[in-house]
Symmetry: C2
Subunit: 200 residues, 2 copies
DNA sequence: ACTCACAACTGATCGCAGTCAGATAATATT
DNA sequence: AATATTATCTGACTGCGATCAGTTGTGAGT
């Protein structure tokens, strides 16, 4: 007797398997060689699918990177949020969130910068792009919540400052001048800027 | 008798003429159709030069856009700086600089966003890119000077806040969510953020 | 079991940015 | 003035991301 009939048909399962293979292939190749040194053909070959099929699962190469990296950023955010709970100071708590995100972003600098580029300049209608934007929103919400620990900051200002902090993060991670910097150096730079916009 | 011998030889003059033709051709085509809808081939044809020659004058298409647009931004900055002199309030003075720059950036939205993308992610070794970065530095210096009108802001903090303001501008102009917004709406958004980071 | 409709897949093909080996033109040397 | 040297130019070519007309696989209808 065969196993109980699957709720989902063969189609769905095939699709899921292909998506998994694509994700695995792209993930490995990007991590090893960097997004610019990997061709979509290589990814398709490694995932054992046709060239065109790849673009049914991600509209373009940038989306492919978002697909691969989103989950890593989501983890970094969860980790940072948890750490921030344990930290009393506002500035330190905000930095507790930023730390893991910057670390994640800098694991492979080219990929990290391309991820940011794609987030700001890519097509927001695409699903993986939406997910990435949602992570930014969540990050800003976490910032805003922390900022409101300070009695002098009202909800609206907190949201605005959170958005500013997000912009600061983006530029510090993306800027060409920072390519040579270590994670800690970048964190110092960000800390200095966020400190400056907190009430004195 | 021929005119007095040129200080510069024929080579230099030819080069300058070609650069002028390239700039004019690219400028017109970009303005009319947008950078994405223009091929480098079209630019080369219109400038009456070979395909390869184009890339002796600008390393890539992005550099070509910087070459064409830098002067416009430089003008906007000069205009904004002059306007800021006449404005008493710190926030208003900062906005007086930002106004013309945003207007310049939004004259053709796609080109404006591509310009920003190129500035952050392009090759900073290239000459036109360096010039663009220099404009950012000048803008931040102007911000810092204005911020120091406020006695509570010391020089170091002014420089830091100027950098933050610059990041805010970048994100507001580049963000996909803002594509549909008017210049005034974007300026309002920026104003709100800059106000939030000024001492209250 | 067979057929039909449509979702999913495929790789040959396209358009474009950017390259490079060879051609050409400007200056330096004799 | 002839020749050598070197700067500049050129377009055929390459490699890549992305497309799309045609094929294949899946499941619904009879």
């Amino acid at each position: 007797m065969p196993t109980a009939p699957q709720r989902v048909g063969r189609r769905e399962r095939n699709k899921q398997e292909k998506l998994d293979r694509i994700t695995a292939a792209a993930s490995e190749l990007f991590a090893e060689h960097g997004v610019d040194e990997v061709t979509t053909q290589q990814i398709a070959d490694k995932a054992d699918i046709g060239t065109g099929t790849l673009f049914l699962y991600a509209k373009n190469k940038g989306e492919l990177l978002l697909l691969v990296q989103n989950s890593t950023y989501a983890e970094a955010l969860v980790e940072g949020k948890a750490a921030a709970e344990e930290v009393p100071g506002v500035l330190d708590a905000v930095m507790a969130i930023i730390g893991p995100v910057v670390a994640c972003n800098r694991k492979q600098i080219d990929n990290g910068r391309t991820y940011l580029r794609e987030m700001v300049f890519g097509d927001p209608a695409e699903p993986h792009h939406r997910e990435a934007l949602s992570l930014t929103v969540q990050t800003e919400e976490a910032f805003a919540a922390i900022l409101q620990r300070d009695q002098r900051i009202d909800a609206e200002t907190a949201a605005t400052l959170a958005h500013v902090a997000s912009a600061v993060m983006f530029i510090s991670m993306a800027a060409t001048v920072n390519i040579g910097r270590t994670v800690d150096e970048i964190l110092d730079e960000i800390r200095g800027q966020i400190q400056a916009l907190l009430p004195r």
